[in-house]
C-alpha cells in the first residue's frame, strides 16, 4: 500500500479554507503529544496552555492586546505578499514606528493636547514607511533582493533603538536603566474595555483590516496587485508597473507595522525599552499565510497566534516550560499549513505499488 499524490483537474476551493483549520488542529494535536512526551499530564498542560489564558474577560483583553499588532503587521505584509513582494522586515518597521511615535511623545513632554496621539500614530506610519522605503528603493533602482535588505534593516533598527535608550533618550531619573521616561497620559492609548489592558490599538487594527479589504478587493490598484501576484506576465502585458507594486507592497507593510509599533510603545509598555516586540513582525508572516492573505483570515489567524503567545507565557509560569516553546509552535503551525496546502492542487490516493515498476513519477512521491 502506498499513498500517492494525484493532480486535481481543478484546484479545490474547499481545501483553501480547510487547510488552515487542518493546520491549526494538527498544531494543537502536536502540542498535546509534546506535553505528553515531556512528562506533563497532557490534559492539564493543554488546558493551561490553550484554555486558561482566555477563561475570563481580562484574558480576552490580553489576547486582543496581541491580536492588534499581529493583525496590523500581517495585513500590511499581505498586500506585499499578494504581489510576490517579500517584505520580511516588519519587525524592523515596527521598531522604527515605535521610535518615531515615541520620539514625538518625548519631544513634547508637557503637552496634554488631544492631537498628540494622532500625531504619534502618523509619525509611526511615516517611520515604518521610511524604513520599508529603503528596500523598495534598492529593489526598484538596483535590483537588490528585498528579502535580504528588509531583514538586514531589522537588525539595524533593533540596534538603533538600543542606541537611543542606552544613549541620548535615556531617562535621566531612571537610575541608569536603559529606558526612556514614561509617556504622559496624553501620549498613552486609552483603555477601551474596562477591567482589561485592551487599548485603542484594537479598534485601529480592525479599521486597518477593513481598509485592507476595501483596498485589495474593491480598488483598481488592489486588483492590479492581485493580478501581478497570480500572473506576472499578464500584469506586465496589461501595462501594470512592477516597480509600483514593489513600492505599494513595501509601503503598506511598513505603514501598518509602524502603527503596531506606536501601539506597543503608547500602549502596554508606555515608554521605549531596548526591545518593544516579542517578534510580532516575524510571527505576522505566519499569520498572513495562515490567514490566506485575507483580512478576515488574518484576524482569525492573529487570534490563534496571540493564543500561542499567551499560552507560552502561561506555560512558563505554571508549567516551568521556557517561553521559547511559543516559537516552536509558531514554526510548526506554518509547516502544517504548507504541508496541508498540497491538497489544494492534489488529492491523496492509496495505491497498491506495482512490483518492478518504478517510474520517475512514482519515485518522486
Amino acid at each position: 500500500m502506498w499513498v500517492k499524490l494525484e493532480p486535481r483537474a481543478e484546484p479545490s476551493r474547499a481545501m483553501i479554507y480547510v487547510s488552515p483549520l487542518l493546520a491549526a488542529g494538527l498544531t494543537l494535536a502536536t502540542g498535546f503529544v509534546v506535553f505528553t512526551v515531556l512528562g506533563f499530564d497532557p490534559l492539564a498542560a493543554f488546558h493551561a496552555f490553550f484554555v486558561a489564558p482566555i477563561d475570563d474577560l481580562y484574558g480576552w483583553g490580553e489576547l486582543g492586546l496581541k491580536v492588534a499588532p499581529l493583525s496590523l503587521c500581517a495585513m500590511g505584509l499581505a498586500v506585499g505578499f499578494r504581489a510576490n513582494v517579500w517584505n520580511i522586515g516588519a519587525e524592523g518597521q515596527l521598531t522604527l514606528g515605535a521610535i518615531c511615535g515615541g520620539g514625538l511623545a518625548l519631544a513634547f513632554p508637557d503637552t496634554e493636547s488631544a492631537w498628540l496621539l494622532p500625531g504619534m500614530i502618523a509619525a509611526g506610519v511615516v517611520g515604518g514607511m521610511a524604513w520599508a522605503a529603503i528596500p523598495a528603493f534598492l529593489k526598484t533602482h538596483f535590483n537588490a533582493n528585498e528579502i535580504l535588505v528588509s531583514l538586514m534593516l531589522t537588525y539595524v533598527a533593533a540596534l538603533f533603538l538600543s542606541y537611543l535608550v542606552f544613549g541620548p533618550w535615556r531617562d535621566p531619573q531612571g537610575f541608569g536603566f536603559p529606558e526612556t521616561r514614561q509617556f504622559q497620559d496624553a501620549a498613552t492609548l486609552p483603555i477601551v474595555l474596562d477591567g482589561t489592558r485592551l487599548h485603542a490599538g484594537m479598534p485601529i487594527a480592525l479599521a486597518v483590516l477593513a481598509l485592507g479589504w476595501v483596498f485589495m478587493m474593491r480598488s483598481f490598484l488592489g486588483y492590479q496587485i492581485r493580478v501581478a501576484g497570480l500572473a506576472g506576465g499578464a500584469a506586465q502585458y496589461a501595462g501594470f508597473s512592477h516597480k509600483r507594486m514593489v513600492w505599494i507592497g513595501l509601503l503598506a507593510g511598513g505603514g501598518a507595522a509602524g502603527i503596531a509599533g506606536v501601539g506597543e510603545a503608547a500602549g502596554p509598555i508606555g515608554q521605549l525599552l531596548p526591545s518593544i516586540s516579542p517578534g510580532y513582525g516575524f510571527a505576522a508572516i505566519i499569520v498572513a499565510f495562515v490567514g490566506r492573505l485575507h483580512p478576515v483570515g488574518i484576524l482569525l489567524a492573529s487570534m490563534l497566534m496571540a493564543l500561542l503567545y499567551l499560552g507560552g507565557e502561561a506555560a512558563q509560569m505554571n508549567l516551568g516550560l521556557p517561553s521559547a516553546v511559543t516559537g516552536v509552535f509558531q514554526g510548526t503551525l506554518l509547516f502544517f499549513l504548507l504541508a496541508s496546502d498540497v491538497l489544494i492542487n492534489f488529492r491523496l490516493r492509496v495505491v497498491r505499488r506495482a512490483p518492478g515498476r518504478v517510474a520517475p513519477t512514482e519515485r518522486a512521491t
Binding site: V156, F160, I285, G327, F335, T361, A364
Partner: protein, 310 residues
C-alpha cells in the same frame, strides 16, 4: 606585541569570523545551484550550533560536536525538503518557517546549557611550517575546522566544475524539465543538495558555538545565516568568491570589535550595525547589473518543480 604580530593576530581572527559564513554559504550555494532557495539557513545554523554545543558539553569531544551539529542541520533541511520537494510548498514561505522554527527549537533545547563553558579547541600546529615567520601563525597553526573550510571550498569547487555529478546538479538547477526528460531523478538530486546545504549550515553553527565563541547563547548566529544567503548572491553562485566575501564580512566584524576596544567615540550599537549595512551595500553593488545576476543565477532558482505536476 609588535605591529607585525598584531596584524597577524587580526588576520587570524578575521579567518575565524569568516569561517561560519564559508561553511553556510558553500552549502546554500550547492542547494541553490540545484534550483532550491532555502531561506532557513539561520534556523539550520542555530539548531546545528546548539546540538553541537550540547554534544561537546556532554562528551567533551569536538569530533562528536561536529557530527551531531552536521546531522542536526541536515535534519532541519530534511523538513524543508519534504515540504518543498515532495509536497511542493512555496520555497520562500517554507524557508521562513524553518528559520522561525529553528530559532524557537534551539532556544528551547539549549536552555540548560546557556552558562556552560567549553574547553577551547587547541589549534593544529603543522610541524616545521608553523614556526615560519608571518605565514607560520597565519596559515599553519589554525584551528582544525578552518582547515576543513578550505577543504570544503576545494571539494565544492571540484564537484561543481570537474565532476560529472556536479554537471548534472547544475543542469537540474538550470532546467529541471530537461534533466527529468533525460532521465535524471530531479527530486532526489535536489534532496541531496538541500541536505548538503543543511549539513554545512549545521557545521557553520557548530564552528560558532564550539570553536569560535565557545558558548551557547540564544539566537547567537545574529543574522549570519542571512548574511550567508547574501554571500551566495555576492559570489554570483561561484564558490571561490564565497571565500572572498566571507573574509570581507569577517573583516568588517573584527574591525568593528577593534574600534570598540580602541575606545572610538562612537556608540557600540552603531558600530555593530556595520556588518548588516555592509551586507546591504554589497547586495546593491552586485545586483545593480541585472544581466550579471540573470546570467549567473540558476534559471530555476526558487521555482517549484515536480514531475507529476506537469
Amino acid at each position: 606585541m609588535t605591529g607585525l604580530e598584531t596584524t597577524v593576530a587580526i588576520l587570524v581572527s578575521i579567518l575565524g569570523a569568516g569561517t561560519p559564513l564559508v561553511f553556510a554559504a558553500l552549502g546554500e550555494l550547492i542547494a541553490e545551484r540545484s534550483g532550491v532557495l532555502n531561506l532557513g539557513v539561520e534556523g539550520m545554523m542555530l539548531v546545528g550550533a546548539v546540538c553541537g554545543f550540547i554534544a561537546a558539553a556532554e562528551t567533551g569531544s569536538p569530533v562528536a560536536a561536529v557530527i551531531v551539529g552536521v546531522l542536526a542541520g541536515a535534519g532541519m533541511a530534511l523538513i524543508f525538503g519534504v515540504l518543498t520537494l515532495t509536497l511542493m510548498a512555496n520555497q520562500v514561505a517554507t524557508g521562513l518557517a524553518l528559520t522561525i522554527f529553528g530559532i524557537g527549537v534551539s532556544a528551547y533545547i539549549g536552555i540548560d546549557y546557556t552558562s556552560v563553558a567549553l574547553p577551547s579547541i587547541s589549534p593544529v600546529h603543522i610541524p616545521g611550517l608553523s614556526d615560519l615567520p608571518l605565514i607560520g601563525p597565519l596559515l599553519f597553526s589554525l584551528d582544525p575546522l578552518i582547515y576543513l573550510s578550505f577543504a570544503a571550498l576545494a571539494g565544492v569547487s571540484w564537484f561543481l566544475y570537474r565532476s560529472r555529478a556536479g554537471l548534472v546538479l547544475r543542469g537540474v538547477g538550470e532546467s529541471p524539465e530537461s534533466a527529468h526528460a533525460i532521465g535524471y531523478p530531479v527530486i532526489r538530486i535536489r534532496y541531496a543538495a538541500v541536505l548538503f546545504g543543511g549539513a554545512m549550515a549545521g557545521l557553520g553553527g557548530v564552528y560558532l558555538s564550539v570553536a569560535y565563541t565557545p558558548m551557547w547563547v540564544e539566537g547567537m548566529t545574529a543574522g549570519r545565516g542571512w548574511i550567508a544567503l547574501a554571500l551566495v548572491v555576492f559570489a554570483t553562485w561561484r564558490p571561490a568568491r564565497v571565500l572572498i566575501g566571507a573574509y570581507l564580512f569577517g573583516g568588517v566584524t573584527i574591525v568593528q570589535f577593534h574600534l570598540q576596544g580602541a575606545g572610538v567615540e562612537v556608540a557600540p550599537q552603531l558600530l555593530s550595525m556595520l556588518p548588516y549595512l555592509a551586507t546591504i551595500a554589497v547586495l546593491v553593488v552586485i545586483s545593480r547589473d541585472i544581466n550579471t545576476i540573470r546570467l549567473n543565477s540558476p534559471a530555476s532558482l526558487g521555482k517549484t518543480y515536480h514531475p507529476d505536476a506537469h
